[in-house]
Amino acid sequence: MRKPPDLSVDTFFSPAGAKEERQQINMDEMKKIMLAHGGGGRLMGDLIQRTIVPKFGDGQSVQLNDSAVVDIPAGKLCFTTDSFVVKPLFFNGGDIGKLSVCGTVNDLAVAGAKPLALSLSLILEEGLDLDVLEKILQSIGDTAKKANVNIVTGDTKVVEKGSADGVFINTAGVGVLMDHADVSFVRIKPGDVILVNGTLGDHGMTIMSQREGLKFDTPLKSDCACLHELTEMLYADLGEAVKFMRDPTRGGLAATLNEVAQSASVNVELTETALPVDKTVQTAADMLGFDLLNIANEGKVLAVVDADVADKAIELWKSHPLGQDAAVIGKTIQADDSPLVELVTKIGGRRIVQTPYGRELPRIC
């Protein structure tokens, strides 16, 4: 894998007085976040210098100026942002920190970009345990390192207790568009093939089960993961035969495919027997009355490719740990007046798949 560009190191965040000689504050004695941690004073400087910065790589990648300076290779810049609010903060398979890195890396990756650098904005609730923050920061650092992307700039704010829910995170990311990457709805035509890299709804059902206290013999695990290696291998080998990619997060596959149908004016036909699903996840969904097509994923990429390269694409994905359950799940076909997404069911029936309402309610019985 190519090394990320060398990001020049200057200073970081520039909190007022951070560089001044001052009395060291023993963070160990302060186990909780206080409003003063966001006040721009010494306490904030200490939080940044001692708690936040060291978590990211060797601590050298973060820049302490008001803006980070990033060297970029020639080409087109991709720029995205995403905010993360999740309850619980820690869940099986990940946490809000990992999510905040993966989410933005994935938004860049599916657009055909090679992720370069991220910003990190933290909104902390007064009273948050410092241990919790440290764990989240460690997770951010570890995930960014694994994804080969640097956190180069950031911000920290503290809000009064009750005004946030522990931690809210925003990350923005920049990346450079890969050669041959040309993804857009307009390139999708009837006869294209739809792929996904693995099982559906794992993240959403894990979060919901954990919230509702549902327990299973095999615990559910979020699929939270950075997907750039999967997207990059497809572009590198198949180039323009890759027409569209998207990470189907909130609203699940149903929301993404309806967007595909509407924006590309094609019908989408899914085959239920081809959809990769985890048995336990399916059981949890059945218990609560949910349709896995509507449930959020955080480690899945959906690709629309030329039919000729479908087998090759699956072969490529299956060679990667995140693509073991990759499958061709459907195709695009000529639409009539109003494009729609249809599912051919296990027993050979057909039904429409609509964009979900936005909040799934557990059923009564």
């Binding site: 509702e212 206290g213 549902l214 609560l288 009355g289 349709d291 599912l343 051919v344 069911t345 296990k346 027993i347 050979g348 029936g349 057909r350 039904r351 429409i352 609509q354 309402y357 799934e360 309610l361 557990p362 059923r363 009564i364 019985c365």
Partner: protein, 353 residues
């Protein structure tokens, strides 16, 4: 599996061809309604076999007056409302529980969670929104029994629990005699036992076939129904033999009858049905929210223009309602059949063409 599917389809088509006229089969239960749509079963049936969605979605048959009582209780300062998820968006006269934006309304997955809330908040009265059929009644009974045993005085239930068979009889008796047969719900029948459908079969001569909720079970259940109709028979049958016995779950049924008694109550669309609603017996009165808060009567009222009642009786398909897909969508539901994931209108809107 493929063979079973093909066999069931063949049986259905052959029988329907033999009968010739239109056959109307009602799936009583909302879970069946959703399952039929999710599996695209309607697209596999012959033209003269029509599926009607029945009054078996707990949210859908819950009268608006009941919702209004829950809303009033939610607005009090001394209560916590514990409810199953799909009740919170059902509109009453003045909005839904969700629209109240109150933090004393908690979505729970079980009656147990309601009891836990009561123990955690001794200064509040926890009102459990107890709706549903024979499947959800035993857990309500157990929660009340536990509360009584453990002395959890700040727990009560607002019973909207209902009984399936009296509703089926009322439907045939006064609302819609064009129903040819019933596809009966697997989970309710686990408790009730398949013999419970005897009155429907004997008095009204309508086949009753119990099926689970998998696509193949529904198809096979329909095949048995069509065979009976073609042969001029009306019998109790089951394709869910693994779980349903003729006598049902006696333990669960005993809990229900020990603690609850039948009463007359309003069903949305069907009106007041004699002895088809159940309330706590006198000895458990203190756990009855109506008694606790001195509510004497639950008003009966339906929103203007809403045809949920007609839909629930199988007299109208959802798209025939003037509000369907216009004023009434899953985003802005007018009637409960559009709110519940198991409601006929919601299923038509989500999965139908």
């Amino acid at each position: 599996m493929l063979e079973r599917i093909e066999q069931a389809k063949k049986t259905i088509h052959t029988a329907c061809e033999k009968v010739g006229r239109q056959i109307q089969v009602m799936e009583v239960c909302g879970t069946h309604t959703v399952s039929i749509f999710r599996h695209g079963i309607r697209t596999l049936l012959p033209e003269n076999l029509k599926m009607l969605s029945g009054p078996g979605c707990p949210v859908c048959v819950t009268d608006q007056g009941y919702i209004d009582v829950v809303m009033d209780l939610a607005r009090r300062g001394d209560t916590i409302i514990a409810t199953y998820g799909d009740m919170i968006r059902v509109p009453g006269k003045g909005g839904s529980l969700e629209s109240l934006h109150r933090d004393n309304i908690k979505v729970v997955l079980s009656t147990d969670d309601g009891l836990i809330l009561a123990k955690k908040h001794p200064d509040k009265i926890v009102v459990f929104v107890a709706v549903g059929f024979e499947t959800t009644t035993p857990p309500s009974a157990v929660a009340v029994a536990d509360a009584a045993r453990e002395g959890v005085d700040n727990f009560c239930i607002l019973s909207g629990h209902k009984l399936v068979v009296p509703a089926m009889k009322a439907l045939l008796g006064s609302k819609n005699d064009k129903i040819d047969a019933f596809l009966c719900p697997g989970h309710v029948s686990v408790i009730l036992g398949s013999d419970a459908y005897k009155p429907v079969v004997e008095e009204f001569k309508r086949p009753c076939v119990v099926a689970g909720f998998e696509g193949i079970q529904i198809l096979e259940g329909l095949a048995r129904i069509c065979e009976q109709i073609a042969a001029g028979r009306a019998e109790i049958d089951s394709v869910y033999g693994a779980a349903v016995t003729p006598q049902g779950n006696k333990v669960a049924w005993k809990i229900i009858t020990d603690m609850f008694e039948p009463c007359d109550g309003a069903w949305r669309g069907l009106g007041v049905i004699p002895r088809a609603t159940i309330r706590l017996k006198d000895e458990y009165k203190q756990f009855d929210a109506l008694h606790r808060f001195g509510i004497e009567e639950v008003p009966t009222e339906e929103p203007a223009g809403c045809q949920c009642g007609q839909v629930l009786c199988g007299l109208m398909d959802p798209p025939q309602c003037g509000l369907f897909g216009k004023k009434c969508t899953p985003d802005t539901p007018v009637g409960p059949c559009m709110v519940s994931t198991e409601g006929a209108c919601s299923a038509w809107y989500k999965y139908g063409r």
